[in-house]
Symmetry: C2
Subunit: 365 residues, 2 copies
Amino acid sequence: MGPGPSPVSHRVLHAMSQSMVGHLDPQFIKLMDKVNDQLRSCFQSKNKMTFPISGPGTAGMEACFANLVEPGDKVLVCRNGVFGERMRHMVQRLGGEPIIVDAEWGKPIDPADVERELKKSVGVKVVAAVHAETSTGVMSDVGAICALSRRYDALTIVDCVTSLGGVPVDVDGWQCDAVYSGTQKCLSAPPGLSPVSFSTRAVEHVKNRRTKVVSWFYDIGLLSEYWSGETKRTYHHTAPISMIYALHEALTALLEEGLSKSWSRHRTISSKLISGLEGLGLDVLVEPASRLPQLTVVKVPDGVNDSEIRTRLLDEFDLEIGGGLGQFAGKAWRIGLMGHGCTLDNVDYCLSSLGDCLRSPDSSK
Amino acid sequence: MGPGPSPVSHRVLHAMSQSMVGHLDPQFIKLMDKVNDQLRSCFQSKNKMTFPISGPGTAGMEACFANLVEPGDKVLVCRNGVFGERMRHMVQRLGGEPIIVDAEWGKPIDPADVERELKKSVGVKVVAAVHAETSTGVMSDVGAICALSRRYDALTIVDCVTSLGGVPVDVDGWQCDAVYSGTQKCLSAPPGLSPVSFSTRAVEHVKNRRTKVVSWFYDIGLLSEYWSGETKRTYHHTAPISMIYALHEALTALLEEGLSKSWSRHRTISSKLISGLEGLGLDVLVEPASRLPQLTVVKVPDGVNDSEIRTRLLDEFDLEIGGGLGQFAGKAWRIGLMGHGCTLDNVDYCLSSLGDCLRSPDSSK
């Protein structure tokens, strides 16, 4: 019940452990196509360039920035947690010029601040924002940010690592140009793949770059010949076969349940967690309007030792919850209810275990 | 029996399908340390910075180049197949100046050619070579190339994707500065991770770069805080937990057998394959002195349709062998005997199936 990796069902683990096939085997290519279709459903997008990058969410983030950002490009980065700051680092390393729109940790990005900056900084090429900040449990209105960005003719990159499957992600509705996610959050597959989706506009933009994409591995022009070749597939790299088996099964389970049902399950069950945490006297850090149902962030109560409680939960109750990151290190707990892990049983178990730890002194002392 | 992914044992698949744990769970951190120790054994290296990159072999290749190459650097690239050519692309994209030492496809790199070029091109910063060219089945004397490079004060990058576990890889003996491998060849774990090892000299070089590593994800300065932190581990990305389970089990199996025994098993069993293929009238493309035991490359006989035979092997015999890549497309078959797949039974099955296909006309016609 941390901020991911979330629990993986036996069904997915079983699928993952099937025998190896070749990465250009006709059966595997069919599976690739099917996974891409499933991802299009989850992203609510018709984007042809929708596929899983062979690396974790951070690799997907880097793939989006490496393709869309060229040296000298102005990139507006919305920052309200660790992952916005990571975006800034990536932009700088790629030779882009980051322009920061900040929001306080624990608050969503204000689209009005984005618009103010877009008016002020003429010629912004790319706007990047995090849909679900895993470091703070905050959801920002990336739909509004994408709409604004289009008005100012900027491409958009949206981080949907923690959001996909848990809350509505509407890539085509948002008219977003590049999104990336992770498999280990609300999709409940093991970590190691990063589903991405690029709009036609983004693909055209990459084709017309002044400079080559600095990364051979992430260049979507090359990747498309393997992942979405019209006819013959060209070898690019060896896809992580077993991980694709797992992702396929996890997406099948999610789509069997249905996206809307999954979203409402996350809402309903997280509301029970929140009531229970408040019943234990804990303060939820994020205002209701921007709370992520799949990740609840609470303040560590005064006088309570963060790591001692988390160690006890792990050792005595076999339960992981997440500590704070960055500004929230030592000050917050991050409790995940993601995908397969989003169940009432888990809520009950977490509340009773955490309650025990908070009420009783450390039994080992 | 293609050029990888190689077959994965039930033991490894079973390990991979164990329950998820957190990527900062104390149990997982112990496992990371153990995997790194196992990789040091396989690479025959004491390098502290030895760990699996969270991506396939090509990601490991890019990690080595992105860390060691700065814009403007002269990089000598030894090219005798697809992967040398890929190295050249990466160097160019990173802003380096590639200097090519070619060898004919199917032949090893001649260290004398490397020395001639090192003498001529003053100020080469990095020399890169492929130990085992997966596109041609050729092994080059990277030990000699590394020794030369040190005399000319150049760092070395060696591709050991297909060699590790199948033939001796001696990172410290070679005094090599950066190596990368893959899990899906002679290690017989699923594809998706790239074991790498960086010498102290390489780590110092990266610390003293004029420019930041363009990739945040691959920067070994940041990666070291997660993969080999002395005390506290810092979150960098979510490691592919299940893949690490699999790699751990695969390395355990390899080290139980022993590296020398694995190397001699690959030699002995491939010699049976070669005799058998010659018995079928096929020409092995590579001279005995530079043949890779784990990957045998034979000419497609005149008048035989490459893809028809491979399709029949797959459809009628459930057997994959690899087609040619690049210059060898349509002209060569690549038959793998890698790791868990390197058995006498596989040799016999391959020879009888391939013999059937070559002798009898296509049954479907």
